[in-house]
Symmetry: C2
Subunit: 126 residues, 2 copies
């Protein structure tokens, strides 16, 4: 209590003489992106963390596709695809264009491809 107050109610470890992190932590805290950025980052990856959405993105690597084509390809309902496309669009990972009644979706940029490829390498290489 005489020292700096604990950030939360969790002491975790003494860290007096044994192995003081204080200095190291201060340094690392300096290097960390701010909380909002970290939050956005997690939100971005969260989007890739669903099979349906990953499949959609992977499919769009090849060609732009309409909603019903995606539904048929992934074997899920039109509604499910539509909901997920909304998530992808809100995150600006895909764009769409209208042609009559049909709406074609495509990848928003090449970052998407790069991120997925990177993940793909990780799970295949080993």
């Amino acid at each position: 209590m005489t020292e700096k107050d604990q950030t939360s109610g969790t002491p975790a470890c003494a860290a007096e003489d044994t192995h003081s992190h204080a200095a190291l932590l201060e340094e690392i805290r300096h290097e960390l992106p701010d909380d909002n950025t970290l939050y956005d980052l997690a939100d971005l990856f969260k989007i890739f963390g669903d099979t349906t959405r990953v499949k959609i993105l992977y499919a769009l690597f090849e060609s732009e596709l309409c909603v019903c084509a995606l539904a048929e390809l992934l074997d899920v309902s039109q509604s499910a695809v539509s909901h997920q496309l909304r998530v992808l669009k809100d995150a600006e990972l895909v764009t769409r264009r209208r042609d009559g009644k049909t709406i074609y979706y495509s990848l928003a940029d090449e970052h998407v491809r790069a991120i997925i490829e990177m993940g793909f390498e990780h799970i295949t290489e080993e």
Copy 2:
């Protein structure tokens, strides 16, 4: 019913003459990784989709750290960190070494860094 049976109970669209996907879909289906791979890929990204875990990984970019240091740095309970470290370890994204009572965690490989950097670029560039 005379044609191929619908994969699910979802017609989605006619796709007779208007804009038949059949050919295109067959081609794309060919390019898609198999379902298990896609599933694993989503699972991998799911792990990056949590602020606590992203923070842990980011912190480990700088240096190996013990559990209590991470808890202090992220301002969460020791238990919460420990649970998340287990997830990261199960996914082989981090490794650990023991030194007496303390356990130090560090990044398993550079893929982790590459994936996160890629995501970081996406959210900052625009």
